[in-house]
């Protein structure tokens, strides 16, 4: 695995000057993944903040070949690119020894929701690519609407904390598990706060033949109502509270890659975020309790599975 020193010497493939918000969790994720590729890489991005923020014509932040085509089809688009590569290889049109890696980036909306079918199809077909979902827990680009990745209880513009209904009523979809059910050779959950873990996982995924997947926690100061400078700290809290456990499934074996020394109360992650403010009213205590109980169950489930074939 590349050391921090080695990683720092590699080219920055997503340039500065893009238009993502200050404190946005997406750029550090993309940069680390692309650095981990350590070689020619081609990427696609689903419609969303990453796409809009990096490609306003005539500028581009991408120093690699990159394509955006629509919202729900990053996995299908990369399937086409990768198939063209295979066809050209077969026909001797790619120089011997040249090995290109393919990466699709999508937000939680573009992956958990509208792009789930395309993702499932591409995973099943076994294309050689890495899919990276940056999960900021809502449709941020269109103004913070709830997605199936939005945490329970969160206030979004389509699950507002109202007089009667206190925010999102549904539990987050466990996409990583859905991906694992496709029996892909490698899938993992990661967070940019634990950069070495993320980089290692990206490296593993990119060097695995076949479809691989990373679900990465991505802070969004705008949609979470948080301070830009706290994004990485909050990502870390999502991990240390076990809301966002770091684990991987390699060839069917599940492994927890990071165990917090002390599992923090969920409230430590929720409290600084404006989107959960209403949960701290006394009458909503039961929501917090329910949320904590569910996180505990999910974490226990992972602990039980650690080291086992899933």
């Amino acid at each position: 695995m590349a050391t921090l020193k080695e990683l720092s010497k590699r080219d920055e493939l997503l340039s500065g000057g893009h238009r993502l918000c200050a404190g946005c969790g997406i750029p550090p994720i993309v940069r680390l993944v692309l650095r981990s590729a350590n070689g020619p890489v081609v990427a696609t991005t689903a419609t969303g903040c990453l796409e809009v923020g990096t490609s306003i014509y005539p500028y581009t932040a991408w120093r690699i070949p990159w394509i955006h085509s629509a919202f729900e089809n990053a996995a299908a688009t990369i399937s086409g690119v990768e198939s063209a590569y295979k066809a050209f290889k077969k026909r001797g049109k790619i120089p011997e020894g040249k090995d290109i890696k393919f990466v699709a980036f999508g937000g939680d909306g573009g992956t958990y929701d509208i792009g789930l079918q395309a993702l499932s199809g591409a995973l099943e077909r076994g294309h050689n690519f890495l899919y990276v979902c940056y999960d900021n827990g809502a449709y941020m680009n269109t103004g913070i609407q709830r997605s199936s990745a939005t945490p329970y209880g969160a206030n979004t513009t389509t699950s507002p904390a109202g007089e009667v209904i206190p925010g999102k009523q549904e539990w987050r979809k466990d996409l990583t598990r859905i991906v694992i059910a496709h029996n892909v050779p490698y899938a993992a959950q990661a967070s940019p706060s634990n950069w070495a873990d993320l980089s290692k996982k990206a490296e593993k995924a990119l060097n695995t033949k076949g479809p691989t997947f990373l679900n990465v926690m991505s802070a969004c100061p705008l949609g979470w109502y948080t301070k830009p400078e706290e994004s990485i700290k909050l990502s870390k809290l999502s991990v240390d509270t076990c809301y966002w456990p770091l684990y991987e499934v390699e060839d069917g074996i599940l492994k927890i890659t990071y165990r917090p020394k002390e599992k923090k109360p969920l409230e430590e992650w929720l409290k600084p975020q404006g989107r959960f403010k209403h949960l701290f009213k006394p009458e909503n205590r039961h929501i917090l309790d329910k949320f904590q109980a569910r996180v505990d169950i999910e974490w226990q489930r992972l602990l039980d599975l650690d080291g086992k074939r899933v």
Binding site: P40, V41, V42, T44, E51, V52, S55, I56, Y57, P58, T60, W62, R63, I64, P65, W66, I67, H68, S69, A70, E72, N73, A75, A76, T77, I78, S79, G80, V81, E82, S83, A84, Y85, K86, A87, F88, K90, R91, I94, I100, Q117, A118, S120, G121, A122, E124, R125
Partner: protein, 396 residues
Amino acid sequence: MAITMTKGQTGLTGNAAIAVAMKQINPDVCAAYPITPSTTVIEDFSSYVADGKVTTELITVESEHSAMSACIGASAAGARVMTATSAQGLALMWEMLYIASGMRLPIILTNVNRALSAPINIHCDHSDSMGARDSGWIQIYSETVQEGYDNLIQAVRIAEDERVLLPAMVCLDGFITSHAIENIALLEDEDVKKFVGEYRAQNSLLDTDKPSTYGAMTLPDVYINFKHQQSQAIARAKEVVIEVGKEFGKKFGRTYALFDAYRLEDAEAAIVILNSAAGTTKVAVDELRKQGKLVGALRPRLFRPFPFKEIADALSHVKAIAVLDRADSMSGFGGPVFNEVRSALYDADKRPKVMSRIYGLGGRDYKVKDALGVFNELQKVLETGKVETLQKYITI
């Protein structure tokens, strides 16, 4: 299901002939999803892949939306790309059709025309491709199996021409053409290979030394300029269609033009009609000609871009015209071909009377007697100088 009949000819269904053309073209990538009546194109092609007759990467996607998305990814990577679909499949691709043309990717699609739901119906009409008529794709319509085969081969050259660089759709009638066996002349594999040549994309996503960004976001300062360029490109396609049709004729003896005019030179009444129903119409024309009636037919081959000037020139001497549409625009003002033809004739010195007749939706038969009925109505227009019924459904 090749049945050799006449010497040098092969009995093939429309879909089988399309699949043979695809085999001879041997595209880099094919991404497709099954839907009646286009399914057997992809079934046949899958056998060619499985038997090593082609070296194409076949992507058996999970939907038509993904089919077109994968075609876009592959084409942006510099590949020659093909797919086939019908009706709901084309409708599901709709979002991506605009993206393919907006990105100027010369993807080739065979659309086996079928009615759109609801009610669900698997039989022929043109509501599917007409729904995509403003999507920026070149649309070429085919009367016969032979023409479908020939059109597909020409479409590659047209779409990839540097003056054009746009996706192209070849349309043929579901079941009527796709599943009927006709005797056709196939070209030699080598000849097809030479005719289509090798595709060299100007840019490719796989050129990692020269990274390019595809599908950038544009704001009001430039969006319209991109669309302007695209509009100019599709207008240029017309001359390319003519050139390629001529070259095809020179090499293989079957010349193609923007449209097919049948006994039109001295006609006073004419039917304008797309695809297979033109054959039925021609039979009616012949019958009436025998009776000394000055009738003719015009079958547009290129519908997008619409050769408005050429079609207007060919029709301006005709006094009464019925445009028969196998699709309804649901505008309360006739079918889509009617609207184009009528508008094209607006600048004619002496405007012909033009009426709309909608026929054959969902596979309803269009028979010689139906064509004769329309000519009968046109005869009345000639006599009275008046159109009694501007628009109506026939074959109901």
